[in-house]
Assembly symmetry: C2
Homo-oligomer: 410 residues x 2
């Protein structure tokens, strides 16, 4: 069941990763373009978001409407999304339509029209997305957390700012496309029912004439305040916290994942038990690992009543801080069971496999095999996790709250 992964880096720098899954009838593809929000100029925040919408409004021989029709005719489920480093193009459909879908993506990535007469409409939608965030306190508190926790430009919200979006010109966007949509640094991953050789040959034909390298992301700048409160008259208080972890390539990586799962890997995990089950402080509480190539963090969230918000934050921080005091063998067994179960389920999804391959390639320069990950999970122990959280104890938290009243965080 664990499949072979094919890999080919073309002369122009584009890397193709492919995992044939002969027992399925679908295929998923995933392009990572080095064109995420970190490349937004400080006075044009939101350029990536606007480009990710405008780029599908006509490409190659097709105008905006024709392009949309062509994608829907393939039964293509697709999305374009903006991450910090990458702009991501994802699509999934029946396997026999994969070649036609790739033809369309070649147009979108290499030959978009970026029509000036649609810019105002796209800009208006982007401004709405920014405004809509004000009505979504759960998302808002995490946006504010990342803004403060990461150095610029890593902490940018992909939505950008109203000023940045308003200032964008069509030339900004066209220049951005010319500069960043380059094969050097681009990754295409495909998982599903297809043959490797015809796929590779088609990708060579479609993307072989593409040239150039995207520039590296801008270097990290300064970061925000460690403490933040956004005052808002809400029924609940939103709490978000972050602290440093190790990136996916680090020797401690699996131990770091293990530690996060001790906190938040199931119903019996510490945060759920202490915050929700024992104290009924909130419905939703979690910790989640987020990695970049050179740094990683653990992000934590809880949404609770205004009255019990201080207690929720106190319990959350106490659980984080007491990780280095000890890890039980039974906790590690449950973490292993959960990680193995989700690993197996990931193997059965074409979309999950396509994304995992591309992430591995970007972060590690290779794709980890199922056996490698499983072996590393099997090797987890109370000792290995404890050694990690003692080397890098949860501390030095960035904490952001959103609600009627600021909290004390010590």
């Amino acid at each position: 069941m664990p499949q072979d992964v094919y890999q080919h880096t073309f002369a122009n720098g584009l890397t193709l990763l492919a995992e044939p899954m002969p027992h399925v009838r679908s295929a998923a593809l995933n392009f990572l373009m080095p064109a995420g929000a970190v490349y937004d100029p400080p006075d044009r925040l939101g350029a990536a978001a606007v480009l990710s919408d405008l780029i599908t409004r006509g490409a190659g021989q097709r105008d905006s409407r024709e392009l949309t029709l062509a994608m829907d005719n393939l039964g293509l489920d697709s999305s374009e999304s903006v991450g910090s480093i990458h702009m991501r193009f994802w699509g999934a459909t029946v396997a026999r339509n994969l070649p036609a879908a790739l033809e369309i993506y070649a147009d979108i990535l290499l030959r978009p029209h970026l029509p000036e007469d649609e810019l105002d409409a796209v800009r208006s939608l982007a401004l709405q997305d920014i405004r809509g965030l004000e009505d979504e306190p759960r998302s808002k508190v995490l946006v504010e957390l990342r803004k403060r926790h990461y150095p610029t430009p890593l902490g940018y919200d992909h939505r950008g700012t109203a000023e940045g979006v308003a200032a964008l010109t069509i030339e900004d966007l066209r220049e951005r496309h010319r500069r960043l949509f380059r094969p050097g640094g681009a990754i295409l991953s495909v998982a599903g029912n297809f043959e490797w050789v015809p796929l590779r040959d088609q990708v060579a034909r479609l993307f072989g004439g593409w040239e150039g390298d995207a520039p590296p992301p801008p270097p990290p700048g300064s970061r925000g305040e460690k403490r933040g409160h956004v005052a808002k008259d809400l029924a609940q208080t939103q709490i978000a916290a972050a602290y440093a972890s190790v990136p996916v390539g680090d020797p401690d990586y699996y131990a770091a994942m293990g530690a996060v799962h001790v906190l938040s890997g199931g119903m019996s995990a510490r945060l759920f038990t202490e915050v929700r089950e024992k104290r009924a402080l909130c419905y939703s509480v979690w910790a989640s690992y987020q990695t970049f190539k050179d740094r990683a963090s653990v992000l934590c969230y809880a949404g609770t009543t205004n009255e019990r918000a201080q207690e929720t934050l106190d319990v959350l921080l106490r659980e984080l801080r007491r990780l280095p005091e000890g890890i039980e063998a039974e906790e590690v067994e449950r973490v292993q069971a959960g990680l193995k179960s989700s690993l197996i389920m990931q193997q059965e999804s074409t979309s999950a496999r396509a994304l995992a391959m591309a992430s591995d390639w970007y972060n590690l320069g290779r794709v980890r095999s199922f056996d490698e990950i499983q072996a590393a999970v099997n090797d987890l122990s109370p000792q290995s996790i404890l050694a990690h959280v003692r080397r890098l104890p949860p501390a030095d938290f960035t904490i952001v709250t959103l609600g009627p009243k600021a909290l004390e965080a010590n």
Copy 2:
């Protein structure tokens, strides 16, 4: 690739549905218990929600903590959720843990402790869920729409009310469990890597001694006002609308699905094109089909700026009303491509298959095959969809808005 589905209804009324998927290594199970929100007494709204949390706090030989540990030890990804008709228990894990997971679910469903000393904690969480809805305008507007559009008790929000949750006693919940958790009316569906005969035998052993029938849902009562506005000082206005459709067993069912997909089945569908692409009125706009056994509706949503909310509602209603004017052949081809593509992807997910089997059994008393659905989708035509929307034109809308200003809906 389309699999055989096994079905067995035990003497006590429990139906087991099973789809072996030999190429996967996971398994998903899904219990539908006739214990949804419609069974909540009018002065105890929220009983289903509270029971769905309390029921996992100890069962059989295990107390609350031991039960949680046992589930996490299996790497079980699980959830309990409350729908209108059913309470749903879903779990997925590696296939070899399926028998152990079933043992645990037999305890939860048949022998829950329903501990009185945890009721206050569970109640407190349920109250938080009700309050939290006030900070989630997107969810809130749809809750308000269903409340007005469906007759009681079908329109009940699964969260219940603060008064109902506050009034609940442990005896209410124990009586509710005794009355509703009965094999007559219960459906267990399993999809993944397992053998049919051992599964059937295990289910017979675990659930064979269970007895009784759940009562039918209470008959429909009165419905709310067709127009509603919830005044709230928000950055955006939320718009929701609903109109009658035909349920899944109706001869018009596939034509009705086709009509919804003409509206909202892809990026080229009418709502996305008219509301988002052409007029940039909002980021998110959709129509979605919702069926019960004896009735169905199309629910529509748009979230937009306060300034352009009236225009958004006008365009939305115009698109709904003009469906009977004509359907293009190309639109139907795209709908077919989209439906076939999602049908194939559903076949590849153990969780999606488990849920689809159970839904079919409840609604139709049988499980539709892949070939049957595909043939019905292939048979769609402009004529068949047009005939349906002329027999049952979108009209008589329930419309709810949430935001600073009420809108005109004619």
